[in-house]
Structure formats: structure tokens, C-alpha cells
């Protein structure tokens, strides 16, 4: 007897398929989707179970399309127990970054050193450089414009926050002091750093 168990794991809906054929699964899912559309609409879905082994690629595609048609989207990671982003995503670097070196952090990035010209750093959240920032820095690299870039000496070739890009004026030769770059009114601004 064909069977599809539906579990909710970490905000995902996991469909567990067990012994059956494509037509049976289609019928079961269509019925479920139509009776309680509010559960399925907008939910990420992951397919699991031994029943999938008996299906062809076309069958699986058809099932996925059915889900998409009912407002779901496919979760392509097989491990539904993916934890929410933790603070440990922050990257701490205890050296200088040199020309041509490139680093990425899924959280914030804190560098105890200088970022030389033509080095590139990107972070999903904030960038803090406890030294001189001369390279290219991109904070909020997935589009988060509420992020900021801090450096003891902010002298980058280019800074990006979210989707905003700014280049620094060529003759900006003032004294080194801690500064913060942030986004306001769709523009990147730089101001002296003041503790909150």
C-alpha cells in the first residue's frame, strides 16, 4: 500500500515515500494539497524515503512539479536537520591579508591585522578590521544593507554593503582614525567611530 508520511522538521516539510508507484503518490499528494493548502503553500519541501528508489527521474520531477504548482519550493539539501546560523559562523583572522588573498565569512569577520590593497574580504554580516583596511570589503554580502564595516584605519579601494558599492575618493589623505561605513538613504556613508 502506497504511503507518504509528512513530517515537519526545522521549518521544512519532509515527505517520506514508502513502497508505491508514481500514480499512487501523485494521487495521495494531490488530495493532501487540496484538503489543507494552508499547510503546504510557501513551505520548503524535502523528499526522503526508500520509495524514491523505485521511481524514475521523470516520476520524481513530476512529483516535484506538483509541489511547486501548489506553492511549495524544493529544498535541495538532503539533511533537513541543518541548524540555524550560529554565532560560530563568525570568522576571526589573526594575520595580515595580502594582495590576492580572499576570505569569506558566513557570519561576521574580525581581522586582527591589516587588509592590504587588492585583498578581498566578504561577510554575510559585519566586517571589523583591527588594523588598516586597504583592500576590497563587502559586508552583508547576501544583500543585507543594515551591516557595517569598521576599521581602525579605513582606507579601502572599494567598499560594498549589501548591493551598494562605493569607491573612496583618491585624495583622501586625512589622519588615520577609527571609522565606520554604513548605508543610509541608499548610499554608503563613512563617519568617525563613536561608541554607542
Amino acid at each position: 500500500m502506497a504511503k507518504v508520511d509528512i513530517k515537519g522538521i526545522n521549518d521544512n516539510l519532509v515527505f517520506v515515500f514508502s513502497q508505491g508507484n508514481a500514480e499512487e503518490y501523485m494521487a495521495i499528494l494531490t488530495k493532501k494539497f487540496e484538503t489543507t493548502p494552508q499547510i503546504f503553500n510557501g513551505s520548503p519541501v524535502l523528499f526522503q524515503g526508500e520509495g524514491l528508489n523505485a521511481l524514475t527521474q521523470q516520476d520524481i520531477s513530476a512529483l516535484q512539479r506538483l509541489c511547486l504548482d501548489h506553492g511549495m519550493f524544493m529544498h535541495n539539501v538532503h539533511n533537513p536537520a541543518r541548524p540555524a546560523k550560529a554565532a560560530s559562523d563568525d570568522l576571526f583572522i589573526y594575520r595580515n591579508l595580502r594582495s590576492g588573498q580572499r576570505l569569506h565569512s558566513e557570519g561576521s569577520m574580525i581581522i586582527w591585522g591589516n587588509v592590504h590593497e587588492s585583498a578581498e574580504i566578504t561577510a554575510a554580516r559585519d566586517i571589523i578590521v583591527l588594523g588598516r583596511l586597504e583592500g576590497i570589503a563587502h559586508a552583508g554580502c547576501y544583500g543585507d544593507v543594515t551591516r557595517s564595516i569598521f576599521a581602525l584605519n579605513l582606507a579601502p579601494k572599494q567598499i560594498r554593503i549589501g548591493d551598494k558599492i562605493s569607491i573612496v575618493p583618491a585624495n583622501d589623505s586625512k589622519q588615520a582614525q577609527p571609522e565606520v561605513a554604513y548605508v543610509e538613504d541608499n548610499n554608503i556613508f563613512i563617519r568617525d567611530y563613536r561608541p554607542r
Binding site: 594575520r95 595580515n96 591579508l97 595580502r98 594582495s99 590576492g100 588573498q101 591589516n114 592590504h116 590593497e117 587588492s118 585583498a119
Partner: protein
């Protein structure tokens, strides 16, 4: 061959940018150390664009090259060219008709392993660039000397090279600043040593001033370090001393400005 030390230092001389004076530095430092009685071998790894034989004035004595050693056409001993001035100095020539892809990093390591027991210093003359030739040259080395000129393009390349050396786990990386002109630095027209050190965050090995005598000595195939009167020779000699662990003060700009002032006062101002 008389070896002074029990261990052997393998030093790669590199820069990223071409034309900054890698080969000149290799020729002068190796000659200087050989003059002090150390057994020294210089390996030219700029395969296809060899220059070291010319600068050492040994181009007529080259018979075999490193690629032939690696391919087994001759032995390592046969390929080593003895210097005409110092019996403790040898050169392993590069092949001019081949290219950098004809040897691998492992093969260079093997050659160095064979040379280590007989020498105090092995210098590797690295080609410009960051590709295969560079990777071959750094594979066998324990230490690195990064040569740069006081200009932004050379400094950027040096920075890149230092980063790559750090990634390759080099602990001992030192900077050699070549072709500095104290008069231009004083006028603020050239990066100063302080600027370079602050930017590159690396230990300074030596500063060699611009000296027109270098061109003459290169053309003659006689390393300038053998010419006592030249300022570049003095600078290279100081570096040779530092490489032996002797502390020598850097030739400072103050000294230069003192002489410059004197010259100006006496009416010989430039």
C-alpha cells in the same frame, strides 16, 4: 669542497614582478658568501629565460643544465659550473631551449636534497610570475628573500608573493629593497623604507641603493660586490654579513643626507 656549517640553507630569491633585481641579488649574495669561504651553489630556475650565467660571467662554461640533470642525461656533478673567481661557488644553469613545465617541484626538491650535504647555502633564482616556475622554485626552499623596488607596482607584487609564501608555510621571509634613490625619497618622490616596511609588514634584510655601476658589472659578468668603491657593493656586503648572523646597521638616509648636504655645501649639488 669545504663546507663550513653542518646544516644547509636553501634560500629562494623571488619578487613576483620581473626586472627588480632577483638575479643580480642572487649573483652578488652568492659571490659575497663564497668570498667569505662558504660553499655556495646557485640554481637558475628561470628556465627558458636564463640570465644568471651572464651576470656571473659563466656563460662560456655552461655545458649541461638542470633539465638534463633531471632527465638523466648527465649527473648533477657534471652540470655544476665552477665559478672562475671563487672555487667555493657553483652554478647549476637553467636550460634556455626548454620551459618551466619541463620540470616539476618534486624534481627540484630531489636536486636540492642531493646538493644539501655539500653546501652551506643553496640559492634558487626564481622566475618572475606566480605560475609553475614560481611553484617549482619555492618547493625546495626553507627561506625566502623577496626583492622589491620602491615603486607601487613592485610592492603590490611583493605583497602578493609574500602572501603566497605564507600560504606555503614559509616562516623566514625577508625583504630586500633594491634600487632605492635616497635623493628622491628625501624629496618625497619615492616610497621610503619606512613606507615599504609599514605596508608589507615584513622583516628587512637590506637596502641596495640605485647604482649605475650595476649595469656595467652585469655587462662584464662581474658581480658588483667585488667592486669595493660602489655603494651597491657596500649594501650587498652588509646583507652578506647579516646572512651570517652578524648585525650590521642599515645604511640610513640620514647618512646619505649628511653626504648629500656636504656635497651640496661644497657645490657639487645635483
Amino acid at each position: 669542497m669545504a663546507k663550513k656549517n653542518s646544516d644547509c640553507q636553501v634560500i629562494v630569491v623571488t619578487s613576483g614582478k620581473g626586472g627588480v633585481g632577483k638575479t643580480t641579488a642572487v649573483a652578488n649574495l652568492s659571490t659575497g658568501l663564497a668570498k667569505q669561504g662558504y660553499s655556495v651553489v646557485v640554481m637558475d630556475l628561470d628556465i627558458g629565460l636564463k640570465k644568471l650565467d651572464l651576470i656571473l660571467g659563466l656563460e662560456n662554461r655552461v655545458i649541461y643544465d638542470i633539465v638534463q640533470v633531471i632527465e638523466g642525461e648527465c649527473t648533477l656533478r657534471q652540470a655544476l659550473v665552477k665559478d672562475k673567481r671563487f672555487p667555493e661557488l657553483f652554478m647549476l644553469p637553467a636550460a634556455q631551449t626548454r620551459n618551466k613545465d619541463d620540470i616539476t617541484a618534486e624534481q627540484v626538491v630531489e636536486v636540492c636534497k642531493e646538493l644539501r650535504p655539500d653546501f652551506d647555502f643553496i640559492f634558487i633564482d626564481c622566475p618572475a610570475g606566480i605560475e609553475k616556475g614560481f611553484q617549482n622554485a619555492i618547493a625546495a626552499a626553507d627561506k625566502a628573500i623577496v626583492v622589491t623596488n620602491p615603486e607601487v607596482s613592485a610592492v603590490r607584487d611583493a605583497d602578493r608573493i609574500i602572501g603566497m609564501l605564507e600560504s606555503a608555510d614559509f616562516r623566514d621571509i625577508k625583504l630586500l629593497v633594491n634600487r632605492i634613490r635616497p635623493d628622491m625619497v628625501r624629496r618625497g618622490d619615492m616610497l621610503s623604507i619606512e613606507d615599504l616596511i609599514e605596508h608589507l609588514c615584513i622583516e628587512l634584510l637590506g637596502v641596495v641603493p640605485e647604482d649605475s655601476g650595476v649595469v656595467i658589472s652585469t655587462n662584464r659578468g662581474e658581480p658588483i660586490i667585488l667592486n669595493d668603491k660602489s655603494s651597491a657593493a657596500q649594501a650587498f656586503s652588509n646583507i652578506v654579513q647579516r646572512m651570517q648572523g652578524i648585525e650590521v646597521p642599515f645604511m640610513t638616509l640620514q647618512e646619505d643626507s649628511f653626504w648629500g648636504k656636504l656635497r651640496r655645501n661644497l657645490g657639487f649639488g645635483r
